[in-house]
């Protein structure tokens, strides 16, 4: 239910970024989300279609990469992929693990369309 609030925060960040780079429009927003972030990707996608309306990202696409939940076990020094409701070590069952990945909610990358006139410095820096 809070995905719209999250989207509004994303839109604030993206709008500021686009303004700072004098972008014409935003074409793609890449996110990374872990199951322990409390954000549901399908709900975020729906909320995004509302939040982007009338903004510089009105026609932007949202690309969400969902990350697995990974823990480190200091007992047996192993890493394992586990489920969100049970973070015990998959190897030895120890519950005192450390979360390595899975609680992310990260704005990873933004792609923008710059001015129509190509800047020669920009076009020569492609790698």
């Amino acid at each position: 239910m809070h995905e719209l609030a999250v989207c509004q925060d994303i839109m604030q960040q993206v709008t500021q970024l686009a303004a700072r780079h004098k972008a014409k429009s935003v074409s793609l927003i890449r996110l990374q989300i872990g199951p322990l972030s409390g954000i549901e990707a399908p709900l975020l996608e729906t909320a995004f279609t509302i939040a982007r309306a009338g903004s510089i990202a009105e026609y932007a696409r949202l690309a969400i990469e969902t990350l697995a939940v990974k823990v480190y076990c200091p007992e047996c020094a192993s890493e394992s992929v586990v489920s969100a409701d049970n973070l015990c070590c998959a190897q030895c069952g120890n519950w005192q693990t450390r979360l390595l990945q899975g609680d992310e909610m990260i704005l990873r990358q933004v792609e923008m369309d710059m001015d129509d006139v190509p800047d020669p410095d920009i076009s020569t820096s492609r790698h």
Binding site: M1, H2, A5, V6, D9, I10, Q12, Q13, Q16, L17, R20, H21, A23, S27, L28, L31, I33, G34, L36, S37, G38, I39, V71, A84, D85, N86, L87, C88, W95, Q96, T97, R98, L99, D103, E104, M105, I106, L107, R108, Q109, V110, E111, M112, D113, M114, D119, D121, I122, S123, S125, R126, H127
Partner: protein
């Protein structure tokens, strides 16, 4: 550092922002920029600001989260009554509608600021900031923030508080930590409330609730208590709170900043802030 006021622009990344700096292009002609910020960057920035307010006055800010009806206000009423002679306290109340909870707190002679969120299912750092400005922090030791009753959304929002208290009442079921891992992982202490009802309930096992909590890799204390009878568990909660306040003051005196268990990726990301925005190559 933040990306609001420009303080994230350092000597190391300044060239990226200049007109003749290196910008990369994707194969289809767009300009790509790596950001690496929390999705709640604006909220987190405000939360850090709130935390500075609290820290400046050595105030401990406590966020209470649970489902509706698990006894947050009841716990507060009894806590205020027991600790009223020792500490100066205030409460920020979050509810969708009504001033009922704030009135219950004021009846104990304690200042209460009611935030009515309308349809919003959680408090955020901006709402709390407004409420904080209605309190005289220089006259306070503890500010309790009673979040909106909801086991989902409040866990994702840093309010600028220092510790999270998650309540689970015995009528809700001992499997709740497994069903709502995000909420229970955020807990600095888990309070199993309404424990006086355990004698008439045969389907809630505090050991099972604690086991489900431990399965989320949580070593934090689990306290079963009854605020109504102010039993031993309630006294254990009072002791935990009192000790947490003294530890908090020591840490503040040493210049440390205390953060709740949530927003861990935010902490990890913070280490990248010096290079928080760089162009994709």
């Amino acid at each position: 550092m933040c990306d609001t006021c420009g303080c994230n622009i350092t000597e190391a990344n300044r060239h990226l922002l200049e007109k003749d700096g290196k910008l990369s292009q994707t194969p289809d002609g767009h300009t790509a920029i790596d950001v690496l910020h929390s999705l709640l960057h604006e909220n987190d920035h405000q939360a850090a600001h709130n935390r500075e307010h609290f820290d400046k006055h050595q105030v401990l800010a406590v966020n209470l989260m649970s489902s509706p009806g698990s006894g947050k206000t009841r716990l507060l009423e009894q806590t205020l009554e027991q600790l009223g002679k020792h500490f100066r306290m205030a409460v920020i109340e979050g509810d969708l509608e009504t001033e009922n909870d704030a009135q219950r707190i004021r009846a104990k002679g304690v200042p209460a600021i009611q935030i009515t969120t309308g349809s919003a299912c959680h408090l955020d750092a901006h709402m709390v900031h407004q409420a904080v400005h209605d309190l005289d922090l220089s006259q306070l030791d503890i500010v309790f923030i009673e979040n909106v009753g909801n086991l989902v959304c409040p866990a994702s929002f840093d309010l600028g508080h220092h510790v999270n208290i998650t309540l689970l009442s015995v009528t809700e079921g001992d499997d709740k930590p497994s069903k709502y891992p995000v909420m229970f992982r955020a807990a600095d202490v888990l309070l199993i409330t309404k424990a006086d009802l355990l004698q008439v309930l045969d389907d809630f096992d505090t050991a099972v609730a604690a086991k489900n909590f431990r399965q989320l890799a949580k070593a934090n204390p689990v306290i079963a208590l009854s605020a109504k009878t102010r039993d031993e568990g309630f006294q254990a909660w009072i002791q935990w709170l009192t000790e947490t306040l003294s530890q908090h003051r020591l840490r503040i005196a040493e210049g440390e900043q205390v953060r709740p268990a949530i927003q861990q990726d935010g902490q990890r990301l913070h280490q990248h802030d010096g290079m928080s925005e760089h162009h994709h190559l």
